[in-house]
Symmetry: C2
Subunit: 245 residues, 2 copies
DNA sequence: GCAAAAGTGTTGAAGGTACACCCATGT
DNA sequence: ACATGGGTGTACCTTCAACACTTTTGC
């Protein structure tokens, strides 16, 4: 937190407009059964850079901000370009703007998003536009990424773990109807620890956010009741920002 | 959350660099004994705009981002230019970038800051650079502000109220040594409700964040012990972002 | 002595954790 | 029948809110 001398805003504006570019990137999360593991884990898609700086390294999907589009729209667009899917959740994460984070001055407005694993192609290593340069990675063991993207993913994961505790974003990783075991799996994957099924059941039942259906998921054992989310309950999430737009 | 068609990042970059400017503004909070009130309230400084758009209206202090300075530095600088003081706390709030939030396209990276009320000039209506165009307002009853700044202040207040619950930012509104009553006043002003002195004492004592001194604040009644914050305790706050830099 | 704030003790409600236990199904 | 996950009951512990109570000062 350095404190520089005052300068006239007008002149600063000129140079900024000439040399500062604004990018929008998104950390996209979904769940997947990991190899060599009984449990599901958090995975995210990365894009291989084809030009310098950091050509060859993996980076977060993103692109330049267009003058005619809002920040949210730019995040949605770059997200769609990469995965071909609409996110079930999208929220701004942070604006990164250190002078030395890139050879040229770039301000990155970073978003984070959730995608439902059942949305077919999201889980395969390639969708329709089968692309060698997009791959899904285990969030727990990433390679070295371009720019400061490792820091950014760390922060996004921290936000995800935090948020799962006090909001119902887990919803964003499930289909419309789900069993309590499936919901619990989401929490366990994000938090990285097992939860007591009995206590978990009571907590989410008492929260009033779930509506039991009369349908059951039949499997290899006793059928489990299917639930859906109660849309009425608007959990305090992003505060005043939720009601804008 | 609209979804636009894909376009080539390169061409978008050009137009963005030509027509998008990046501003940095800061919502600065401190506490002050409000007129017509027994209790302290949250106040913030605003700047009267001297040119269009919104000439004459009050706005958040800020300025254009210089190419050579980081976002944090830009926030510190504009903050110093307005109040002449260093903040006791500074954190990025959000990046606002709707296309129509200003006649020309402006991305505003907004910060929020805390200032210790004891820092003399902060509480007076004017400091050394006695300035008619900077005034402190009660955060609870603001006039109509320029641009979307009313929304921004609302969000900053929400973040402040939230954060006071799980971090020790109240520290940022107090001198080094303080009584429990003074600390409680801070919480009461931010949360807007009275707290039980007995329970409040136990909660903060058990949190382990306070170190009792052997000094006392003498006043009109029984002297109150002075405390200071325990610097060792690093409460989970901004996660991985705290350890960067 | 009295008012008022500092500080302590006690109680009951509420929520979380651990874990024993019963239920319903496929094999 | 039995293994397994679905689902219920309960006991214990911690935290929090309410409020009665004691202590120490200025006046």
């Amino acid at each position: 937190m350095t404190r520089t001398e005052a300068r006239t805003p007008a002149s600063a504006a000129e140079s900024a407009a000439e040399q500062t570019r604004v990018a929008v990137s998104t950390v996209i999360f979904t769940l997947r059964r990991l190899p060599d593991s009984e449990t599901a884990g958090v995975v995210l898609p990365l894009v291989r850079r084809t030009r310098d700086p950091h050509a060859g390294l993996w980076a977060l999907p993103g692109g330049w901000l267009d003058v005619t589009e809002g920040l949210d729209a730019a995040a949605s667009r770059t997200l769609a370009e990469t995965t071909g899917l609409a996110p079930s959740y999208l929220e701004q994460l942070y604006a990164f703007g250190d002078v030395d984070r890139s050879p040229t001055r770039v301000i990155s407005i970073v978003y984070w998003a959730l995608i439902r694993p059942d949305a077919s192609t999201a889980l395969g290593d390639r969708g329709d536009g089968s692309d060698e340069n997009v791959q899904w990675f285990d969030a727990a063991s990433l390679p070295r990424l371009a720019f400061d993207h490792n820091d950014i993913v760390d922060y996004a994961l921290w936000r995800l773990r935090n948020k799962v505790g006090y909001s119902r974003i887990a919803h964003g990783l499930l289909a419309d109807e789900f069993t309590l075991a499936e919901l619990r799996e989401v929490y366990e994957a994000i938090l990285g620890r097992r939860l007591d099924p009995a206590n978990f059941r009571r907590q989410v039942e008492n929260s009033g956010t779930l509506i039991p259906t009369d349908r059951f998921r039949t499997g290899s054992h006793r059928p489990a009741r299917l639930y859906r989310y109660n849309q009425d309950v608007e959990l305090a999430d992003r505060g005043p920002l939720d009601s804008r737009h």
